[in-house]
Point group: C2
Chain length 619, copies 2
Amino acid sequence: MEQFKELREKANLLRKWSLISTTEAESGHPTSCLSAADVTAVLFDKYFTYDLAKPLNLYNDRFVLSKGHASPLLYALFGMAGAYPLEELKTLRKLGSRFEGHPVPSFIYAEAATGSLGQGLSVGAALALIARRENLPYKTYVLTGDGELAEGQIWEAANFSSYHKLDNLIALLDINRLAQSQETMFGHDIEKYISRFQAFGFEVRAIDGHNFSEIDSAFDLAVKNNTGKPFAIIAKTFKGKGISFLENKDGWHGKVLKKDELQKALTELGNVDDSLHFHLKKPSPAKLQESISVNTTVKMSFEKNKDYATREIFGQVLAKMGEKNKNIYTLDGDVKNSTFTEDFQKAWPDRFVECYIAEQNMVSVAAGLSRLGKIPFVATFAAFLTRAADQIRMARVSEANIKFVGSHVGVSIGEDGPSQMGLEDIAMFGAIPGTIILQPADAVSAAKLVPLMALHQGFAYMRTLRSKTHLLYENEEEFQIGGSKILQQSRDDQLTVAATGITVFEAMKAAEELKREGINVRVVDCYSINPIDEVTLKKCLQETRKKILITVEDHFIHGGLGDFAAAITGINKQVEKMAVTKISQSGTKDQLLDDAGISAAHIINRVKELVRSAQSVFA
Amino acid sequence: MEQFKELREKANLLRKWSLISTTEAESGHPTSCLSAADVTAVLFDKYFTYDLAKPLNLYNDRFVLSKGHASPLLYALFGMAGAYPLEELKTLRKLGSRFEGHPVPSFIYAEAATGSLGQGLSVGAALALIARRENLPYKTYVLTGDGELAEGQIWEAANFSSYHKLDNLIALLDINRLAQSQETMFGHDIEKYISRFQAFGFEVRAIDGHNFSEIDSAFDLAVKNNTGKPFAIIAKTFKGKGISFLENKDGWHGKVLKKDELQKALTELGNVDDSLHFHLKKPSPAKLQESISVNTTVKMSFEKNKDYATREIFGQVLAKMGEKNKNIYTLDGDVKNSTFTEDFQKAWPDRFVECYIAEQNMVSVAAGLSRLGKIPFVATFAAFLTRAADQIRMARVSEANIKFVGSHVGVSIGEDGPSQMGLEDIAMFGAIPGTIILQPADAVSAAKLVPLMALHQGFAYMRTLRSKTHLLYENEEEFQIGGSKILQQSRDDQLTVAATGITVFEAMKAAEELKREGINVRVVDCYSINPIDEVTLKKCLQETRKKILITVEDHFIHGGLGDFAAAITGINKQVEKMAVTKISQSGTKDQLLDDAGISAAHIINRVKELVRSAQSVFA
């Protein structure tokens, strides 16, 4: 009698339902499931500790499916563990099903939404990091494909994992040779993976991923691993394993079996007992992340005649908030002395995560931290947040609760030149549904808005300024998400200038000069860019002579404040966008604001043009 | 007499001007220049072959400064080579100077704009690849910092370089231990770098980066390298080398010397002869990339009753264009059977570059190809182009001539779910100044627009559809960048529905149904999203009863077609945006279009609401 007979049958039950569900759905990636069925069957059968009733139990082991297209395998695993009947997998990829094409949060056992490749190891590293820092006993398993090992983020995550000595992290590499359109770069040259992961500081065990004895002894080693190094099980596997006409055959990626092919395949699998189950070990006791309902109000006061950089205030407030809220984590990409997250590091080193210059990993680590109830603040130059645009996109699909802070926005940073200027960040975050976007122009508003970001559940983004600015507000002034402040108004305003961040000061300068020339304009500080303050802006449009709103921002012209303002409906209006329309250069702040056409002088000219023109289109 | 006395003095002249120029500029990164002065002095003194009069001479060696913040070093190197007087370096970082804070194309010797770290090796790999494929003799040198080796893209580029056997590529790794805010992850643990680069397939030579004899023998080996492996010179160096109070000292990143500190430093350097020069070997003969002024018109005709996917047509047209224009290259991230660039690969394998699943490297490789006159087409899923948002941003700063094609846009892809849906791509490309954005809805328009992308000098982006669509146009129809097509109109149109891509068909369905109910609406196919067809849309606004324009797009609501339409000025208008406002899910195309609120049924409802409401805001 074969030692692993039942295990083999369980793996075949995973195969069976990977095939049935995808054929039923008429789309999906069955062959990518088949290669990993044996490895994951052993994991769930013998090693995985999990409380199905409490996915967020902090004693649960963690399983991250980095190769998200193998979702039917994930669904079959938890089904066989008893989370739901396998029969329900027939709803795969159908509207309203929890079994989407790639895992999303409606599947509550998914640690993260995956499907954009190469992100799972970072998520897993975050989960393993929490266990390390909070002395929790669980293991984190990450199943990756081989195609996705080409993504640079994998190596960012590998460095991160070995640097942080995450020997509680176990990467399962499903080296099935075939990617989507052809063989991977290395095919079955397993040595290539061994040398790379060893060089990046992993303890490595290479196995035949279809040999249960080898799989089992690899897991046995992995769970006992206390070398200080993360563990990689490099499994040589075959795509489509177990079905003769699929196994190791090219041209089957993302293809499903027709009904007759399915029958043939199921016949090959033989009589697989549908009642086979994984009996997961349940951890005891249960422990959940403590709730975050704490007061994040931070008292600060600023001196009237002093200038402050909003980035500095952000750092100070963040450090203070860390005291009251122990779930706040801060992540840095080696710019903490520019973003001022170094203040947080000094105060709360245990909740500070240095990610070095690897923004993609940083964002996905934040998504992992959020999964277990942390409130991660991710800060770098706004320009360098674009490095992680895909990870930000996927973190949003994961419904992660991340606070992003981008410093050094706009041409106003000056001499460093265009590579360092954040000029597309509002467009990037603005496109992502439900993302709060804030840009305080002075110290008071910065100090009041940072806590509101923390309290907001979901994505929030704040732009901070490189240069110091004057105070606009009294220390007692209050601010809110979706708010704005009218800084200057009269009974005879011609039009409204809505500015944000550094351009608020240009707008104020322009308004003062225009006033001297007998032209009154209203000036609004749109510190909340999304949501924008519709009520106030509508009121301004109604109360000014021309129904004109000029928006001025240190951001590229498409996708910024101007487009949020232009989207206000239900009112006569003409929105004139003043923003950056070309690649900037090196120069002083004032030279570049002028060169970009968003200085006080340009605002004055635009206002005069619009006011003097015989009539506005609405007059 | 010391063997390397003059070389040492030349290196010190590089140091001197790195210090003078940054002190003069009052900002910059002098210490990052000092660590690499010795290595680059040897390169320029003995190995670098270059025709200063013709930077694009295809026999020139190539020098890529990946650590862009060391720009003063780059400027001093070419100054000492005779390109301009060193005295001109005093204009560093001043408005209008060619010596910007980080290299940009106005410095004509820069192979790429750098300053976002970790991108230079990819650019260099592209340059080395051209030499390989076109049998050119030049070497490509890439100077990287150590901080930036944490970026995953470095490892994507490393895989790419060794996979393509680029033994004409020489990476110079300036391991100066100190990054911006602290020591790098590995400090001076050189073994960490040796093992990583060896594992990734490099021939490696580790040296003392301040020992001229070691530097020279490393270069000697590197230029003779014919192992089939790229070469890495791993130089252990000291940040601030040569100046006692800077050398190996923390806290000096991005800081410049005050005038008195500069004097002290120059005194330490001693009497450095300003007339010292690098006498670059000039390559002969000169060869420039052939011009691209060829006809890219492609004749295709389509069958009336057949459906076509625009992504398939893109692939076919691209393959045909490849015949007429030998400068066209195509880059793939292992989705060529989805984007249909496989057609190009089959026809022109020598100009097809498989980049595997590593989008960041793919885009920076394209920037490198563009530098030497190629016209790279970069194609992957639109969603995965976000993976390279920062590289796209930097390629634009480089003024690269790249054509991007994103397939599988929108919720209309269906069952695969949100991770695969390109819904922020218009926002991303729209923010980048001067980027053409096209979205053909049918085969005819796709076939006509792809050649226009190739002819356009600069960035152009095309969205292609997953699903097949009906023909909208006759084979003879003509299209242009900035154009649109009115698909349905009457003398009694209530308002205009402007759609793009898949929503054109929803708008047409809606218009037909509305017509049956006695409501005429005009339908416009906005196949050119940027620039948008202002003339036609203004005409539509003027000619319809209500001054209402409804935009409908399979893209998130911020930053898409709607915002381009709303930005049209000089006319009374009300723009109502219909677009995706939430994270989508798995389902069929039609279910998801409806779920997202952009189906024909939703358009019908919105039109009725707007038409029935007592009056529009302008009525």
